[in-house]
């Protein structure tokens, strides 16, 4: 059917794609336009003033409260991405290389079932474990490892734990898919030539799966930096991240211009990281 189209045919084809295109334009592109406009307005004495200016962006640069949130977001996201990768890679590798072939699908399925717990509920479940009177402290106190309960909930450690739990499942899936695509011949050849298992891994398997790792890491970065729920439930009010500050502008102060400007900053950061990743991947392929 993909031949040269008659005029009449082309009109029909447009009819199929138009609903989705219009939907995307009206409810995705247009809201973004409204957001840009809103970020260029001002809010004085609780009233939104429709004068064009860059006050919101200037405020972002001048107030430590705002850019500290961005710094917190970046630190948190980088930590989460690295820890998740370090934990997920061996898991994916063991499932792909050590678990017998016919059990692999089951092993993978088991590793991602908790993925389908509701996002809000999952963070709450971690609170049950990490809270002052939660499971972890009860266990530590009972074994005498600590004398006083640890204050983990409402710190960055709790947020990292909640995030890492989620992304280990996601990354195990993507890294596993990557490892399975690898031809075993490369490793076999290296082993025949006398390379030990560690050397085979460091010089063959790891470099060949690096592009896949980068894609997974980028996915983690994007999902983590834009998330409000986990930091809000587990991290609490200390060391706010950017999405928390954005939500605060809306729910506490109804300051839409500021929230819009902060959202655009967040989008710019993500786009920048995307460009860096894409550039790195192109260089890697060209090599």
């Amino acid at each position: 059917m993909r031949d040269k189209l008659s005029r009449e045919h082309e009109v029909r084809a447009w009819r199929f794609v138009l609903p989705a295109l219009l939907w995307t334009l009206i409810f995705f592109v247009m809201p973004f336009g409204f957001m840009v406009v809103m970020s260029l307005w001002d809010r004085i004495d609780n009233v939104i003033v429709r004068t064009w200016n860059l006050n919101q962006y200037r405020e972002f640069l001048l107030k430590p409260y705002y850019w500290q949130a961005l710094v917190n977001s970046l630190q948190l996201t980088v930590t989460v991405t690295l820890v998740s990768l370090v934990l997920a890679y061996p898991l994916a590798w063991i499932i792909a290389m050590r678990v017998p072939e016919r059990w692999q699908r089951l092993a993978l399925l088991l590793a991602i079932i908790p993925f389908w717990t509701s996002y809000v509920v999952r963070s709450y479940a971690w609170l049950l474990i990490l809270a002052r009177n939660g499971l972890l402290n009860k266990a530590l106190l009972a074994t005498g490892l600590v004398d006083l309960p640890l204050e983990i909930a409402a710190t960055r450690y709790a947020t990292v734990t909640g995030f890492v739990h989620f992304f280990v499942m996601l990354l195990t899936l993507t890294i596993y898919a990557n490892l399975k695509q690898l031809s075993p011949n490369h490793v076999r050849a290296a082993a025949d030539l006398g390379a030990g298992p560690v050397r085979c891994f460091l010089h063959i398997t790891l470099p060949l799966t690096l592009p896949g790792i980068m894609v997974g890491a980028f996915l983690t970065f994007v999902l983590c930096i834009g998330d409000y729920i986990t930091p809000q439930i587990l991290g609490g009010g200390n060391e706010l991240v950017l999405p928390q500050v954005i939500m605060m502008q809306i729910s506490r102060r109804a300051d839409f211009p500021s929230a819009a400007a902060l959202s655009i900053v967040l989008m710019l950061v993500v786009s920048l990281v995307y460009l860096l990743c894409a550039r790195w991947l192109r260089l890697e392929r060209a090599r």
């Binding site: 082309e10 794609v17 989705a20 995307t24 247009m30 061996p90 049950l128």
Partner: protein
């Protein structure tokens, strides 16, 4: 000897990670059967009283109904939009196809918070009130790209000949799509439908920003969280998890069994 030490280590690591992955769900479900007032040790159950409380709480059951309604309706629309666009872009050489594909999948790369906030600002400025309708609109925005991407990736060349045969035998384009393409694409259509359902069912931030009086279940659970650790929240959360698992099992049964047979 060394090999054996390695496999012990592998087994140990596997056990450790599965423990980590299952720890929160286990604690959640276990303490939903708690007998006492707090979901902390010691466990003094099992008791079903918190489930009874959840099912007797009309706010929660209303929210559950709202969530199902939004999930079914928004997923239905998302699948229709995604399927039609995937068909058009896979089968016709329309101008600017790469650009159209990029535009249709763009919402996948933007955080839900920003999509929700953009819609909120737009609806506010246009004077559209927040309701379940606006939540549904938001969920179609996030799910239609997913449906499009899944169905588009499955639109292979092998179905083209069957479609062409139908056309040669005199079927109109619409008839061909309805009676030939759609049945052939059913596995990926169903897969994207159920995936959309689970995402909509679980989605919090867009529903939180765009709803007002009628809220969905994750938003209602969010307000339960304010009461601190509470076995009732455990029970509600366990029920949400159960429904998600049902969606996934349905998908597995309806979609992947069919693929195996077909």
């Amino acid at each position: 000897m060394r090999r054996q030490a390695g496999s012990w280590l592998s087994g140990f690591y596997l056990l450790l990670m599965y423990g980590f992955i299952y720890l929160p769900v286990t604690v959640l479900v276990l303490f939903s059967f708690q007998g006492g007032r707090f979901p902390i040790l010691p466990f003094n159950g099992p008791s079903l009283k918190w489930y009874r409380q959840v099912l007797a709480d009309s706010k929660l059951t209303d929210a559950m109904f709202n969530s199902l309604l939004v999930a079914v309706c928004s997923s239905f629309l998302a699948v229709i939009l995604g399927f039609l666009a995937a068909f058009a872009l896979a089968r016709f050489s329309l101008p600017a196809r790469a650009l159209q594909r990029a535009l249709l999948t763009a919402p996948l790369t933007v955080s839900y918070l920003i999509i929700g906030l953009g819609l909120l600002i737009m609806f506010n400025m246009l004077g559209v009130g927040r309701s379940l309708w606006t939540v549904g609109v938001g969920h179609v925005v996030i799910n239609a790209p997913l449906c499009f991407a899944i169905i588009y990736s499955q639109m292979g060349a092998h179905q083209v000949n069957v479609e062409r045969a139908a056309r040669d035998l005199g079927a109109s384009l619409v008839t061909t799509v309805w009676l030939v393409t759609l049945p052939m694409m059913m596995p990926s259509v169903m897969a994207s439908f159920f995936l959309s359902m689970t995402f909509s069912w679980d989605e919090f931030i867009i529903a939180f920003l765009l709803s007002r009086f009628d809220v969905t279940l994750p938003v209602e659970i969010w307000s339960l969280l304010r009461s601190g650790l509470n076995p009732k929240t455990n029970a509600a959360g366990s029920l949400v998890f159960l429904v998600s698992v049902i969606f996934i099992v349905l998908m597995e049964l309806l979609v992947f069994r069919r693929i195996k047979r077909g």
